[in-house]
């Protein structure tokens, strides 16, 4: 990805703390609602899933698609957002 969104920068800039799942890049209102329905209400829960999949891009993308129906761009945004967050804070 050549450029990153504002949301991505904001998320990657600091520890996620208790941020909502919608603070993740690529996760907007609709996907956020769907994720919350499945119990992924906080960003760190998604991070947990991300980590339990060993940061594997393919699996995480698949999971995101299955869970909330994210499209390819949303999957990529969310994945790179979490990966960069892990690179700097994990």
């Amino acid at each position: 990805m050549s450029s990153t969104s504002q949301k991505h920068k904001e998320f990657v800039a600091e520890p996620m703390g208790e941020k909502s799942v919608m603070a993740l890049a690529g996760i907007g209102e609709v996907l956020g609602k769907r994720l919350e329905e499945k119990g992924f209400d906080k960003a760190y829960v998604v991070l947990g899933q991300f980590l339990v999949l060993k940061k594997d891009e393919e699996l995480f993308r698949d999971w995101l698609k299955d869970t909330c129906g994210a499209n390819a761009k949303q999957q990529g945004d969310c994945y790179s957002c979490l990966r960069e967050w892990c690179d700097s804070f994990l």
Binding site: V52, L59, W63, D66
Partner: protein, 388 residues
């Protein structure tokens, strides 16, 4: 495909075992009892054979059976996706072991990740006979098969081809002679279209194709035979068909029965020519473009003299290089510097002596003056002053 519905409990253990193996069901441990076999048989083979009878397609057999079975086993919401049964039946440890066999970096298999790993294993288990560019993933958007109307054309062509072949088989009247010519033409074209097989001698393809041809040929041969006695109208039809056939080999790269089989070797050849390239959805693999010399980068044309093209330029350049080597330059510089130093020192030495001479002379003059003054005091003072 078992075409019987038997009570598996009445089958022998060995029979159960072979049946399970035939359905590629992982066999239980060797020391497990018959119950385990019966259970597996009930679960896999029976369910699958049931699906056999219900489903139209052969390919969807395993998946259909799996979904039916899975619906009863799993109460999760993901019933839309079809699951192959033996994958969903695996325990976490088995699943992990299977994935490790395929070189997958397996993480913890827990409730939230299990579906993903199952899906992954299912994808891996799927035979990779078909390259992904024609995979089912694109089927919704792009299809390999032609549209319906073109399919009709295909059918026509098929019939033509068949009739032509039939003519070759009959070899009776003079009409058939013409058809024989057609057949030659078609054969020719056929050869041209099998051309890629020169590179790819896959006997399997040939074998798989030839029965098709003969089937078509014999099939329409019967049809022609039965049509022949019907009268002039059917013969007219035949003529029309022939005309169509005569036109097609020359001009159109016509769609025909063999197209689907024909596509495969082409892509294979591409793969053969460019190994290591991943198959792309378009089937065209593009490598990174290298700059063409002098085309886009204008300055390149001034680089041509750089290349040692002729021995003359090379010599000249060497001459230039060896004309004044660096050490000679240094030597010359040092020589010149030394020369300058000599000159300078000589120049410094020269004024010393004149001044000394001058001093010397002035000393003499002093003496002279003294003499003169003594002389002048004795004789004539204005003379002395005039001399001074």
């Amino acid at each position: 495909m078992p075409s019987f519905v038997e009570d598996p409990a009445q089958l022998s253990k060995r029979r159960l075992r072979s049946e399970l193996a035939a359905h590629s069901v992982p066999l239980p441990a060797a020391d497990s009892g018959k119950e385990a076999y019966v259970e597996l048989y009930r679960r896999h083979v029976a369910a699958r054979s049931g699906a056999d009878f219900s489903s139209d397609e052969d390919e969807g057999r395993g998946q259909a059976g799996g979904s039916g079975e899975e619906a009863s086993i799993r109460d999760e919401g993901q019933k839309t996706e079809l699951e192959v049964m033996d994958v969903s039946q695996l325990t976490d440890v088995e699943l992990k072991a299977r994935l490790l066999q395929y070189g997958v970096n397996v993480g913890p298999i827990v409730a939230s990740t299990r579906t993903l790993y199952e899906k992954k294993l299912r994808i891996l288990l799927k035979p990779v006979s078909q390259p992904p560019l024609n995979g089912a993933g694109y089927a919704a958007q792009y299809s390999d098969v032609e549209d319906e109307d073109e399919d009709d054309d295909d059918d026509d062509e098929e019939r033509d081809y068949g009739s032509v072949h039939a003519g070759g088989h009959l070899e009776a009247d003079e009409e058939q002679d013409q058809e024989g010519h057609n057949q030659v033409g078609l054969r020719f074209q056929g050869d041209a279209r099998y051309y890629p097989q020169c590179f790819l001698p896959s006997s399997g393809m040939l074998e798989s194709r030839s029965p098709d041809i003969s089937k078509v040929a014999t099939g329409t041969k019967v049809g022609v035979n039965s049509e022949m006695p019907l009268g002039p109208s059917s013969q007219m039809d035949l003529m029309k068909d022939k005309n169509a056939t005569r036109k097609s080999p020359a001009f159109s790269p016509k769609p025909s029965v063999f197209r689907p089989q024909f596509k495969e070797p082409v892509s294979d050849i591409l793969m053969e020519m460019f190994p290591g390239t991943e198959p792309t959805p378009t089937g065209i693999s593009a490598t990174c473009r290298r700059p063409i010399k002098g085309a886009a980068g204008r300055p390149v044309q001034f680089k041509y003299p750089d290349t040692p093209s002729s021995p003359g330029t090379k010599e000249r350049r060497e001459l230039q290089r060896h004309l004044v080597p660096t050490w000679i330059q240094m030597l010359v510089f040092l020589l010149v510097a030394f020369l300058f130093y000599l000159i300078f020192s000589a120049m410094q030495g020269v004024p010393d002596s004149p001044s000394a001479v001058l001093l010397h002379r002035s000393g003499h003059e002093g003496e002279l003056l003294g003499d003169l003054s003594s002389f002048a005091t004795s004789e004539d003072p204005p003379l002395v002053s005039g001399e001074e």
